[in-house]
Amino acid sequence: MIKRNLPFAAIAVIALVAAPLLLEPFRLSLLAKYLCYAIVALGIGLAWGQGGMLTLGQGVFFGLGGYAMAMYLKLSESGGGLPDFMVWSGVEELPALWAPFANPVFALTMAVAGPVLLAVVLGTLVFRQRVRGAYFAILTQALAAAMVILLVGQQGLTGGTNGMTNFFELFGADLADDSTQRVLYLVVAGVLGVLYLATRQLVNSRFGRLLVAVRDGEDRVRFLGYDPALVKTVTFAVSAGLAGLAGALFVPVVGIISPALLGVVPSLELVVAVAVGGRQVLAGAVLGAVVMGYAQTTFSEQFANGWLYLQGALFILVMTLAPKGIAGILGRLRRARTA
C-alpha cells in the first residue's frame, strides 16, 4: 500500500515545490485559497460523504476560525491598541472578549476549539434528539443565516458587514511580500496534506466503519451498543475543527474575513464542490474544492453572468448523471480500463 502511494506522494511533493516556482504570485495565492477551501471540503467529505450528515453551515466554522485569526492579526498590528474598525464604530475600550486574542497561541487554539465547541453543543442538542437528514441540513443552514446576522449586528466587535481587512503582517513577516505568500502557500499545502492523510486514516479505521454504519443504519447501530449521537457529534466536531483551521489559514492568505464568507451561499457552494469532486472519496472532496474554486475564478473572469448558470447547471448534471462526482467517473474509467 505504501508502495502504491509512493509515486503520488512524490508527485504531490513536486507539485508543492513546482507550483511556487511556476506560478505568478497572484495565481499562487489563489491556489492557496483553493487549498484552504479544500481543507473545509475534507471536513464535508467526512461528515457528509462518510457520515451522511449534510452540513450546510460549514461556513460558520470556517468563519469562526477566520475571525479568531483576524482578531490576533488586528491586535498584533495595533500593538494592543484599538483595531481600526473599532475606532470607526465608536468603540472606546478594547472589549474583554478580544483581549486574549493578542496571544497567537490562544488565537490559533480558539480558531479550532471555537468551532469544535460550537459543533459539540449543536451536535449534542440535535443528534441526541435524533434530528437528522433533511432536518439537520436545514438547521445548519439556518445556523449559517443566524450567524451572519449576529456577526453583522455586532459591528463594534466584529467589523459588521465589512468584516476585517487590511492586515499587514503575520509573525513579523510582511503579508504583502511575495515571499511571505509563497511560504503561506507551502504552509497551507502542507497542512492540507497532513490533514488529508489523518482524515483518511480516520475513515479507514474502525471509527470510519462505524461512521458508515451510522450513515446507513443509525437505528441499527444503537442495537450494536453504540450511541450514534456521540459518533455523529464527534464527526461533526472534527469537520468543524477542519473548517476552523482552514478559516485561520485563509485570513493571512486572502487578507480579509467577512460575514459574506460564511453565509448560506458560500456554505452551500462548498458542498457543491464536494459533490462535484465526489463525496464518497476524500480525495474527491479535495479535488472538487480546487476544481470549483479554479472554475469560479476563470469563468467569472470571462463571463460574469454565466457563472451562476454554469454552477447551477453543473450541479444539476452532477446530481442527476454522476452522483459520485468526478471521483466516480474516474473510478469507472479506471475499472473499464483494467477490465
Binding site: A15, L31, V87
Partner: protein, 405 residues
C-alpha cells in the same frame, strides 16, 4: 488505498493546470503601444448587481466618449471589466487580478463601503489607484483612492440642514445594519444634539430584511416629524410599501432617504414613495448643459427608458476626471496622476466639481430633491455652491468626538 489512483493524478493535474494557466495580462509585448487598460470592477451578479450594473454602464459610456474624442495621450482606453459578485473578498481578489495581471492604469469600481474597505489594502499595497463613485460614511482618506461621491458633509449634513429649515425637530433613524448607516446615525445624533433636534429612536434591520410592520409600528408610535432613512437596497422597497399601507403620508411624516435614487424609485413603486425627500448631489433633472448631454448620451446608448442617478453620474465623472489628470500629468503613472489631479475643476452634470488634492474627494453641490409622481426627482433645495469635502468633519465643532483618526 481506497482512493482511485486516477483521482490522485487528476488532483495533481488540476494543480498543474492552475500553474500552467497562461496569465493573460502578462503578454505585455502583445499590448499595443496605443492602448491603455483600465479596470472596471462592479458587482454584475448577486444582490448588489441591481445598483452597480448601471454604474458600470455609465463608466463604459465615459470610456467610449473619451475614445471617440481621440483617447488619452493619443492612446485608446481599453476597459477590463470584472465582476465583484456582491462579495467583498471577491472585490479584493479581482482588484489584485486587475492590478497584477492585467496591469491596468487605474480601476473604477465598488459601491458598498465593505467592498471599498476590502479593496483599500490591495490598492495601497500595490500602489495603484481606485476611483470610488458612491456616497459613503466618510472617516477615510486613502492616498490610493479618489472619492467622487459625496462624503458626509456633502449629503448627510445638508440633509439635516434641510430638515431643520423645514422645522422638523423630532426625527427617527431607520437603517440597514452595516457601517454606513451606523456612522451616519452617529453624525446625525451629534448634529441633533447641537441643533436642538430630538432623536426619538434608532432602528437597524439586517440587509435584505423585508418585514417592516413592527418597525413601522415603532415609528408610528414614536410620532416623529421626519424619518432619516439609511436603509439599503431591497429593504427600501419593503419599508416604503409597508409604510404607505400603514397610512403614513409624505406630508405628515417625510422620510428623507440617502440611498434611494431614480433607479430605485422604479422598484419601490412611485405610488409608495412620491413626495418623500432624498439627499444627493445630482438628479436626472438637474439643470446643467453637461447633464442634458449626459442624459441624452446615456439614453442613446442604453435605451430611452433608462434613468440616470447620482452614483452613475459619479462613476461617469470619475472616468473623465482621471482622463483629465492623465492629460495634465502626461503619463498614467500613479504618483504623477495623483499630483496632477489636485485642483482639476470640471463642469459636470452635477455642476462644477473640483478635486481636493489633499483628501482626494470632490467639492460638490448638495441637493435635496422630492420624488415626483413620474418617478423622477425634483430639486427643492441646494447648498448654493460646491461644499468643500470634509471626510473627518474637522470643520464642525459639534462633531468633535466622531472624527478621530
Amino acid at each position: 488505498m481506497r482512493t482511485p489512483r486516477a483521482l490522485v493524478s487528476a488532483l495533481l493535474l488540476t494543480t498543474l493546470a492552475a500553474c500552467g494557466s497562461p496569465p493573460s495580462g502578462s503578454g505585455s509585448s502583445a499590448d499595443a503601444q496605443d492602448e491603455i487598460k483600465v479596470g472596471v470592477l462592479h458587482s454584475l451578479s448577486g444582490t448588489m448587481a441591481i445598483s452597480e450594473v448601471t454604474v458600470r454602464d455609465a463608466e463604459l459610456l465615459a470610456i467610449e466618449e473619451i475614445n471617440q474624442a481621440g483617447g488619452v495621450l493619443g492612446k485608446k482606453l481599453v476597459p477590463v471589466v470584472e465582476d465583484g459578485a456582491s462579495d467583498w473578498p471577491t472585490f479584493a481578489e479581482k482588484a489584485t487580478k486587475l492590478i497584477r495581471q492585467d496591469k491596468v492604469a487605474t480601476v473604477f469600481g465598488g459601491w458598498t463601503s465593505a467592498s471599498r474597505k476590502a479593496m483599500l489594502p490591495v490598492f495601497e499595497r500595490y500602489k495603484s489607484l481606485l476611483w470610488y463613485p458612491v456616497q459613503y460614511e466618510g472617516l477615510e482618506s486613502s492616498p490610493n483612492i479618489f472619492y467622487t461621491g459625496a462624503t458626509t458633509n456633502q449629503q448627510i449634513i445638508p440633509g439635516l440642514d434641510y430638515l431643520k429649515e423645514q422645522g422638523k425637530k423630532k426625527i427617527f433613524l431607520v437603517g440597514s445594519d452595516y457601517v454606513f448607516p451606523r456612522t451616519a446615525n452617529k453624525i446625525i445624533k451629534a448634529y441633533a444634539a447641537a441643533n436642538g433636534m430630538q432623536v426619538l429612536g434608532e432602528e437597524y434591520t439586517p440587509l435584505g430584511h423585508t418585514e417592516y410592520s413592527t418597525l413601522v409600528n415603532k415609528v408610528v408610535q414614536a410620532g416623529p416629524d421626519a424619518v432619516f432613512n439609511t436603509l439599503n437596497g431591497d429593504s427600501n422597497v419593503a419599508f416604503f410599501k409597508q409604510l404607505k399601507s400603514a397610512g403614513v403620508s409624505a406630508e405628515a411624516m417625510p422620510v428623507l432617504s440617502v440611498s434611494v435614487a431614480e433607479e430605485e424609485v422604479k422598484g419601490i413603486g412611485v405610488d409608495n414613495i412620491a413626495g418623500h425627500p432624498v439627499a444627493w448631489n445630482y438628479y436626472q433633472t438637474t439643470d446643467t448643459p453637461a447633464n442634458q448631454a449626459f442624459v441624452k448620451a446615456f439614453k442613446a446608448a442604453y435605451g430611452e427608458d433608462k434613468v440616470t442617478s447620482d452614483p452613475m453620474q459619479a462613476g461617469y465623472n470619475a472616468v473623465h476626471l482621471w482622463a483629465e489628470a492623465v492629460k495634465k500629468a502626461g503619463t498614467t503613472e500613479v504618483e504623477a496622476v495623483k499630483k496632477a489631479a489636485g485642483g482639476i475643476a470640471l463642469e459636470r452634470p452635477e455642476g462644477l466639481v473640483t478635486i481636493d488634492g489633499e483628501n482626494q474627494h470632490l467639492y460638490k453641490t448638495a441637493r435635496i430633491g422630492v420624488i415626483r409622481p413620474d418617478g423622477l426627482i425634483e430639486q427643492v433645495w441646494d447648498s448654493g455652491e460646491p461644499i468643500k469635502p470634509d471626510p473627518y468633519l474637522k470643520g464642525y465643532s459639534w462633531a468633535g468626538g466622531l472624527a478621530e483618526e
